[in-house]
Amino acid sequence: MIGRIWSIIERTQHSRLFKIIASCVIVAVALAMLIIYSVASAKARTQMIEQFRTEFGDAAVQEVLNNQASNDQASGDAATNANSASSPRAMSQAQDGDSDEARRAGQEVDEGARVIRSIIAAQYNTSSIAIAIGLGTLLCLTVIWVSMGLTYLLLAVGCALMLGIAALSGSLKSLAPFIVGIFALTGSFSALMRLMMVALSWSSPVFSIARNVLQEAIRMKVSLIFIVAMIFGLAVLPMLLSDDQPLRYRIQSFLQYGTSGTFGLIAILIVLFSVMTVASEQRDKQIWQTVTKPVAAWQYVLGKWLGMAALSASLLGVSASGIFVFTEYLRHQPAQGETSAFRASQGAMLTEDRFMVETQVLSSRRTIAPDPAPWNPKQLNEEIEKKIQVELDSMQVPGDTPEQLAANKDAARERIRSDLLKGLSMSYRTILPADNRIYTFSGLSDAKNSDRPLIFRYKIQSGSNMPDQLYKVTIAFPGVGQAKVEDVPLDQIKVLELNAGLINERGEVIMQIFNGDASTQTPNPRAFTFPSEGLKLSYASSSYQANYMRLMFVLWIKLLFLAMVGVCAATFLSFPVAAIVSFAIFWAAEGAKSLASALETYETTTLQGQTIWFNTAVAKIAELISSIFSVYSNLRPTGRLVEGEYLGWGSLASGTIVVSIWCLVLFAAGVLIFRRRELAIYSGH
């Protein structure tokens, strides 16, 4: 009976008529959802504007309506109008005394209103929802046209049943994300894999081998375990987030663990499987029946890599979609201090938590480091020569020939220059008690007209960085006449929002930082230092969604590289050796940035100036590794996603080109080696 029903289901979902009708229904439902959402969001926007009117007045409301009419012009118009149309609060302050302070206070209020307007505009921007609906529609159409429509409908019914059971047991709220996540992720993965199989069904050696790789991935237990673990882990992760935490931390935790966890799992699977699919065929001799067909070596290697590329695209596509959708779900949860999403319980329209979510977490920010220290080259060289002389005097041995002295001098010159520059850079980032330093951040012209605040991220270190110590740090803006005094814990990142009005006509922000409270002339007990990358200014650039897509693309590029490493290593190495080599390369590439940071403080000489040869050798190797993989490691997709950091098209293109070149080199090496292999002799024996 069940078999008969199933065969009816199979026949129905394979029929063209069913596919056409189902597709029309899906598209109609998607359009209806989009229309309903647009209408509902317009209504909600109206309510927000009424609340906004109460706080900021009619003129500001008019700006909101003007901005909502054209999202593309929102940032520019808001910036212009903000300067002319003051809020009631600003105007009253101006009337009170028309003092500089009152004017500054008014400008701050205007700036805050401008930011809030843009956040509201973003909240009710239908682009995110349209993308989500579009992706869902595409998935449904894919499922229908690969003849799995009714199967998925049955899965959805099963999911609904499980939700019903969870509701009856009273644990719907905690289990719903998990249940829906499992079904959605499993269904998405199956549909994507089916689509990949269809796409690779051309009659050619490369595509045939690639398709075989996909079939092996689905049907072999080893890979299936990883896939199940990834789907399960991603579905369970939301349940582990604590509702007591601020929303921004929950979102950041989910992004951090979700992205890094799934990428890590997928990367391990790709490395292991790409090695296994080639090595096991040689060990078990299935390759004999492939290479005795008209299959060139390059076709075999390319086919294996293409199969891995398709597998990684499917896995990453599923996890990226799941992370994106659930992040959007979290975003529409109440933040700290809100009764519902984007609705504060009392006081300001947007709580601090919501503000940080929208401006710092789910954002795409360009980061600017301060300009380097303005050293005088002539003065720098004089300093270097002085130090060289002092050092040579101390290391000169009686009886040294002039040639020996000259050689020592040359060797010392580079070392001293390097050490001196490091020291100068360190001292430039160090501020003594009661002292101050001026830092200039350039290249901020694009941010001048942005309606989002600048984010100043900094970290100070002093002594042993006691966790309970707080230092006073005064941050002043000489050109504008503003200053803030902050209580800063040691060795922890501190974030400060600044308004874009601080940017001067040259596109610079000039910042003066005092060690201590400048207003009360109270210095801190010790000097503090900004570590490397401990001073950063960032501004919003591009949308979060576009940045997210670019970062996911970077992850995929990395996986493609790992796949090529695995496939090419396995052309001439046995499975365990190839796996070890591939993992070593993977960890070297991922850890190159940390390696470069560690090298800055790695000593290769004793205090007396004697070379430690072992350390020197280690440093040379580490330098080589970090330089080879510098482009790879600087991409940092997970870190950028969590910190809301922008990845530009230029960086993306350069990273893609470099990784592609590596892949081509590895491919060429793999093909050359494979052609020379005597496949009837297994290297593992």
Partner: protein, 445 residues
């Protein structure tokens, strides 16, 4: 050990007109250990040629270098000495692989694919179109009796079923040159019979086949020429007849004879040879075990007894029997067709020195095997065409040749040397002339 003569089988030479398919000259292969010292000399200065359209046997005990030789032909190993060419090109040339089908000594298949997917995968490596692929897959699965199990994963197959699938993948591209390394390993007698018929069919169609085996009976039935290896060295080369015929004996087959008649024959032989020759042995021919087995299976099939294993399969796939566009059919009808080899008949005979055997019954078990019937029928038709072209047979013999008799016609026995025709005539009372040319002869298995 018989030394090979440098003669060629007239039948194979008439079939092969083009350049040789495989030329091996002083071929050697030495395996070295990790320290690059000579570890094993698997093949040692072996030279041979495989001509176009011939069925070539590569015999030898285990470890004689058969599989190593084949691997060098296919480019899986590089020779350490000498050289080998396939279709005039190096074995590593990718283009020639389109014309080659290879069945290794074990069927190294993907355990996670089913039969259909396996054949589809290999078919795509040849860039076959979808319709061609599907048709060939259907025909091959049907031919090898795998249709019922085509959707089961290969890991669930028995060894024999895996072997059949391996044979199918070797045939998917309708190769010009087929290399079969121990093809009947793991197959039941039905499958073995089927494979041998298939090889003969392919040979008749003009394919070149390299058959490597240590199962001598399998090779003897099929090949035109063979090479015997031992210790990596070629020990013998030639046709079956050259290598196997006993020149000092004669076998005569007749209907059942009583003792007195046998004694009379013995007396005649002694008289004529002045006592030098005599009847050495008299026995009744036996049906072979294979023939009995196939009979039993055939009977069970006719009673429709159920089985979950592979069935005996259907007819040879059409694309293997003929060109798929039918253009070869016309050429086949007008071209010379070789006489069917005696391997398809199960015949018992007695060899003796100028002796006559008493044959109580002659039966052929091959006629009860459905898979061989088309081959037999095709053979009969071939002979008919031959007769029409050459006008050698009478109408009566033509009619006899067309009937699928229990005792199918086989290759007419070459004229036995040392046999006195007049003696036979006198024994049979001045019976039919030309008896030796037209009467069937059956080899004892």
């Amino acid at each position: 050990m018989q030394q090979a003569k440098a003669t060629t089988d007239p039948q194979s030479s008439q079939r092969s007109g083009g350049p040789p398919v495989v030329v091996a000259q002083q071929l050697s292969r030495v395996f070295k250990d990790f320290w690059m010292r000579d570890h094993a000399r698997a093949v040692n200065s072996v030279s041979f040629e495989i001509r176009e359209r011939e069925i070539f046997g590569l015999l030898g005990p285990n470890g004689s270098g058969k599989s190593t030789t084949i691997k060098m032909i296919l480019g899986l190993l590089r020779p350490t000495g000498g050289r080998v060419s396939v279709f005039g090109k190096l074995p590593t040339d990718v283009a020639i692989k389109r014309r080659i089908g290879y069945l290794p000594e074990e069927s190294y298949l993907y355990p996670f694919l089913n039969a259909r997917e396996t054949l589809d995968y290999y078919a795509k490596l040849f860039e076959l179109e979808y319709k061609t692929r599907q048709r060939r897959i259907d025909e091959l699965l049907d031919m090898l009796g795998m249709t019922g199990a085509q959707y089961r994963p290969v890991r669930e197959y028995s060894k024999g079923m895996q072997r059949r699938l391996g044979i199918a993948q070797a045939l998917i591209n309708d190769p010009d040159f087929l290399i079969l390394d121990e093809p009947t390993t793991g197959l039941d007698p039905i499958g073995t019979r089927q494979i041998k018929d298939l090889i003969i069919e392919l040979g008749r169609r003009g394919k070149t086949v390299l058959l490597s085996s240590h199962l001598l009976a399998d090779v003897e039935d099929c090949v035109d020429r063979l090479v015997i290896l031992y210790g990596g060295v070629k020990r013998a080369e030639g046709t079956c007849d050259e290598l196997l015929e006993a020149q000092d004996k004669t076998t005569i087959e007749s209907d059942a004879l009583d003792e007195q008649t046998v004694a009379e024959i013995d007396r005649v032989i002694r008289t004529r040879s002045s006592g030098d020759n005599a009847v050495r042995r008299v026995s009744k021919p036996r049906q072979s075990l294979e023939a009995l087995f196939l009979d039993i299976v055939d009977k069970a099939k006719s009673e429709q007894v159920a089985t979950s294993g592979a069935t005996s399969g259907g007819t040879t796939a059409s694309f293997l029997r003929s060109d798929e566009d039918g253009s070869a059919l016309i050429s086949k009808l007008t071209a010379y067709e070789p006489i069917v080899r005696g391997s398809t008949s199960s015949v018992s005979s007695v060899s003796s020195v100028s002796s006559v055997s008493s044959v109580s019954s002659v039966s052929s078990t091959s006629s009860s095997v459905p898979s061989s019937a088309p081959a037999k029928a095709a053979g009969s038709e071939t002979q008919l065409i031959e007769a029409l072209v050459k006008g050698e047979k009478t109408i009566e013999s033509q009619a006899k040749a067309m009937q699928p008799a229990p005792t199918p016609p086989s290759a007419p026995m070459p004229k036995q040397q040392g046999v006195d025709d007049s003696m036979i005539s006198s024994l049979l009372g001045g019976g039919s002339a030309g008896h030796d040319a037209s009467s069937p002869s059956e080899k004892q298995r």
